[in-house]
């Protein structure tokens, strides 16, 4: 599972950690995040993230 970076603020989504602030369980791949999910630091929606190599 790859990590994804927010292009606006640089926050990194790590699937191993998930995003407890929005009820996302550890182990959730980026692709499975709901459309309503946003960057917890800056509010950017999913399509403003880029996959890290």
């Amino acid at each position: 599972m790859s990590k994804w970076e927010c292009t606006v603020c640089g926050w990194i989504y790590d699937p191993q950690v998930g995003d407890p602030s929005q009820g996302i369980q550890p182990g959730t791949p980026f692709e499975d995040l709901p459309d309503s999910w946003v960057c917890p630091e800056c509010g950017a929606p999913k399509d403003m993230f880029e996959e890290l190599g």
Partner: protein, 400 residues
């Protein structure tokens, strides 16, 4: 049911989308004075740095909101709330009726009086228009001074340094980020900034603009003059409470809300940077979002969702450097025992705060991203660190 939102920043837009989902039958309208459709404010730093355009930080077009069933009126200021008739008045003179109203008018940049500013001009950064004006001014300037050494001031300094300006930061307190960092940590941060070509002046008692292009500071009773063709003030925020105050709601620093984000006037709610909850004005996006979600729920069904506060951001990037504050990091000392690892050559500063039983109470990590999760877990677990202390202080996080 007409749900009206004044201010389409992150709080207003989060609430609009939640209201839309909670009550498909209601109509949802957002008014915003800004002519540009909703953009991500943190990205304005990159706009100032010349690395991004406004379009890069604008997630959706105006039409997208309309497609979501949100009526979105940009370049429209709400000038008055008529509480007895439940109407808002627009700058065009039109009035619009509401059943529930959300005030999410955000905050302005706070600009303390700087003698000479009225003559030579200073900039602040809050809106896209501000960012474009600063960007324009960078084309005619080679030197810049940022008044205010908080995280926004430091980010500004980096952005202007990236634009090729010689940037300086002046701060009234004795060291940078005094709310987060102690003196030693701030020293390492200053050294990192210095490497990026950013000058730091702390413990500055007085700032004036004596003539065009110059800024004069008094430090340790000595006056220093700094070249400053561009002056940006980054001294915190001031809640935009005027509309709420004129409507008659209770306001102190911000518009006072209860645990349901309700103001003192029935049917009117507030969320985001404008709101003051139990004495807190958070001024950060995660809190604006949490409040907006709770406000939306209560606008549809009052009492349905209680707001319990937000956790302040504990990791941030200042001028490209990772900084994490974990637990009780006691920036100005305290009961806990403090252990420090100071490594300016590698740009690392690590401080652990322990109780008498080597339990981790808090930590500060500068330039050390890997330590954030393990130390957070250790602080939360409350376990005794025993003989791991020295290893952790040296940045050895994996158990042998």
């Amino acid at each position: 049911m007409h749900l009206v939102i004044v201010g389409g920043g992150v709080a207003g837009m989060t609430a609009a989308q939640r209201l839309r989902a909670l009550d498909p039958a209601a109509s949802v309208t957002v008014f915003d004075a800004d002519p540009h459709p909703y953009y991500l404010r943190p990205g304005l730093i990159e706009v100032v740095a010349g690395l991004k355009h406004l379009s890069d930080i604008t997630p959706h077009s105006r039409e997208w909101y309309e497609e979501q069933g949100i009526s979105y009126r940009t370049a429209t200021q709400v000038t008055r709330v008529d509480v007895p008739s439940r109407l808002v008045q627009l700058d065009s003179g039109d009035t619009v009726a509401y059943d529930r109203l959300l005030l999410s008018t955000g905050a302005d940049a706070f600009c303390p009086p700087v003698p000479g500013a009225e003559r030579y001009g200073v900039f602040t950064l809050r809106s896209a228009e501000n960012a474009e004006r600063i960007l324009g001014a960078t084309e005619k300037s080679r030197t810049a001074v940022i008044v205010g050494g908080g995280w926004l001031g430091l980010e500004m300094a980096r952005a202007l340094a990236v634009r090729g300006l010689e940037a300086s930061v002046v701060e009234r307190e004795e060291w940078l980020l005094p709310g987060q960092l102690d003196r030693e940590g701030a020293g390492v941060l200053s050294a990192l900034l210095h490497e990026q070509g950013i000058h730091v002046y702390t413990a500055v008692a007085e700032v004036t603009l004596p003539e065009k292009g110059l800024l004069r500071v008094v430090k340790d009773s000595r006056a220093v003059t700094i070249r400053a063709e561009l002056v940006v003030v980054a001294a915190g925020i001031r809640c935009r409470t005027d509309l709420a105050l004129r409507a008659g709601t209770e306001a102190r620093r911000g518009v006072v809300v209860d645990d349901w984000l309700a103001t003192s006037i029935s049917g009117i709610y507030a969320a985001g940077d404008v709101a003051e909850w139990r004495g807190h004005v958070y001024g950060i996006i995660p809190a604006a979002r949490d409040q907006a979600l709770a406000a939306a729920a209560n606008m549809v069904e009052h009492g349905s969702l209680r707001y319990r506060g937000s956790t302040p951001l504990n990791t941030l990037k200042v001028a490209g450097v990772d900084l994490a504050i974990i637990g009780d990091a006691q920036p100005r000392g305290g009961r806990g025992q403090e252990l420090r690892h100071i490594d300016p050559a590698n740009g690392v500063y690590r401080k652990l705060v322990l109780d008498g039983h080597t339990r981790l109470l808090g930590a500060v990590l500068l330039g050390d991203r890997d330590g954030v999760r393990p130390l957070q877990a250790l602080a939360r677990s409350g376990a005794s660190l025993g003989d791991r202390v020295q290893g952790l202080l040296a940045g050895e996080y994996t158990l042998p």
